[in-house]
Symmetry: C2
Subunit: 334 residues, 2 copies
């Protein structure tokens, strides 16, 4: 539905975390990425070629993907000028922001004139049911974090990739805009109406072969007061058989909440597991996924060893070390 390949729009992202959508697409769907477009003041880098709009179009890019998230999802005046110019050149636009492309007068008018398509992947396109809690066949794994933006999506994608490599049955199930832009489908869970959140997750992860694994993309954190309700709905709608604890070791406070400290991995485990067992009494915490991007190789390895000794479950950075040991842990659950 969305024309490929993409040019990634990083805007004036203040840091790499703000551009995690672009980074996710560049990492997991590189064959569909021509390059990135950065504005003055941009401090993010998705690690692909910097191109002007025209250069990217000439290299074949057909959709400019908004790969940067702002708190609250506002579209600034500066962004609007670039997005409109891209449509004049011939690009379609795709975005997962709360603030919709289609709600911006300039973009709507330019789209009408140029014939460009506006893809707002944030918007649910399905009337999701209320969750019924019925036990579903097949297996499900969910990554839950000590904070938001600690690597839950990467963990799911890496485990799915590893299972595919082994010839196992598995599917990555996106619940956010990056995952949807990578795979082309999913549930934009943070835009679903409250009563239907858990039902949307049930819908996303239906009955399947008994030896099939869904890797459900996690959202928020039980300990992040802004989004904990979304995490809760993922746990109860997903009825996971396995939880993976996700952690970023350099975070000093909860993202966007300077007054809130992070929980320990033990606190996360002890809070989440009883909650998960309401929906699936067989649920186990199977492993720990550490986002070691900010650490050197030795430091990363030492930290994973230390956490593994403490927690007694396989601990890796799936992006750095691969997800093999996490997949082994799921296989061991039977």
């Amino acid at each position: 539905m969305i024309r490929t390949p993409y040019l990634l729009f990083l805007g004036d992202a203040p840091d790499n975390l703000a551009a995690k959508v672009a980074q996710g697409i560049a990492d997991w769907n590189p064959e569909n990425v021509v390059g990135q477009f950065r504005m003055d003041g941009c401090n993010a880098d998705a690690g692909v070629q910097d191109l002007s709009l025209q250069e990217a179009y000439d290299k074949g890019a057909r959709t400019l993907v908004v790969g940067v998230a702002n708190r609250g999802g506002m579209i600034s005046e500066g962004w609007l000028r670039v997005l409109a110019e891209a449509m004049e050149i011939g690009f379609d636009l795709a975005s997962g922001l709360h603030n919709l492309l289609r709600d911006e007068d300039l973009l709507k008018a330019t789209s009408a004139r140029s014939g460009a398509t506006l893809h707002d992947v944030r918007i649910p396109s399905v009337a999701y049911p209320i969750a019924n809690g019925l036990k579903r066949s097949g297996k499900r794994c969910l990554a839950i974090g000590t904070d938001c933006s600690v690597g839950k999506m990467y963990t799911g994608l890496a485990m799915d990739t590893e299972m595919q490599k082994r010839g196992m049955k598995s599917t990555f199930r996106p619940t956010g805009q990056t995952g949807i832009l990578i795979t082309g489908k999913g549930v934009p869970l943070d835009a679903v109406v409250a009563d239907f959140m858990a039902g949307a997750v049930e819908w996303l992860t239906p009955d399947n072969d008994e030896d099939h694994w869904d890797h459900i993309e996690g959202q928020g954190s039980l300990f992040h007061i802004s989004y904990s309700g979304v995490t809760m709905a993922l746990i109860h709608g997903g009825q996971p058989d396995a939880l993976i604890l996700a952690h970023e070791p350099t975070r000093t406070h909860m993202r966007g909440l300077p007054d809130y400290g992070l929980p320990t991995l033990e606190q996360l485990r002890d809070t989440a597991l009883p909650i998960a067992r309401i929906a699936n009494p067989a649920c186990e915490v199977a492993g720990v996924s550490v986002n070691t991007k900010a650490l050197g190789d030795d430091e990363a390895a030492r930290l994973c060893e230390e956490i593994e000794a403490r927690m007694g479950i396989p601990t890796v950075d799936p992006f750095r070390h691969g997800a093999a040991r996490l997949v082994d842990a799921l296989v061991a659950l039977g």
Copy 2:
């Protein structure tokens, strides 16, 4: 905004729980209720006079309030005929159902012809912010349940009424359609988009005098997999100083989920309190509210005594015994 007094529409409610909206209005806003309208097959009774549409109109009723909830909020053909007839007689309509009055062709057409107003109180009318977690002044109390529909709203209303009687500063803060229909304002939380749930609760319970209590209407249950995300957002957005545990002793399984048993009050306390202390480290479980509607006087008194001995906190049915001891418990928190 909604014209009073009301005629309560109970439809063909299969039981009193399905008509809890009508019952809530009859109990807490009786001066604005003329009577009830019941269809064939209705097994609910709000305890007010049965009237035909015309009789109620002649007695002064000006709004027919849909006081019955269906799972998923569907409006049946049989209901539509009655609602349209009411508008022809001169009534406005008010409803908190998910399925909007304004989305029904027959009702929209009849409303346009008759001049009747359609009030869909389910729909949020405010662009709520993302929760910021900042500590707010004033005190807040939230009732949380072992299940849905166990008396959380009644508990909040009764405690607010008791505080008003004592001349204390307090406000009931509705988060559901019944509360909104009773007080005329509030947040229809189960219709709010996921990312803004906790922010909507912050918006509903702003800074206030240090000796002012907000009684936040609870929703769902941490143990009800369909709605637990909404409950989570109430706990983290409301940052309550006090939790009241709400329980209905005759429930044999979670409402609408035959395979799910109820938690004990101890499990509810031990699950909820650590979660609440993420947002407010000073939070305490202050009391237990038991819905003893199905029990005789002696049995109700014995059960409350037994729970109080077990849990070590004041335990009453606020509707039967009054909320004085629960209010005393809040006062004792300081």
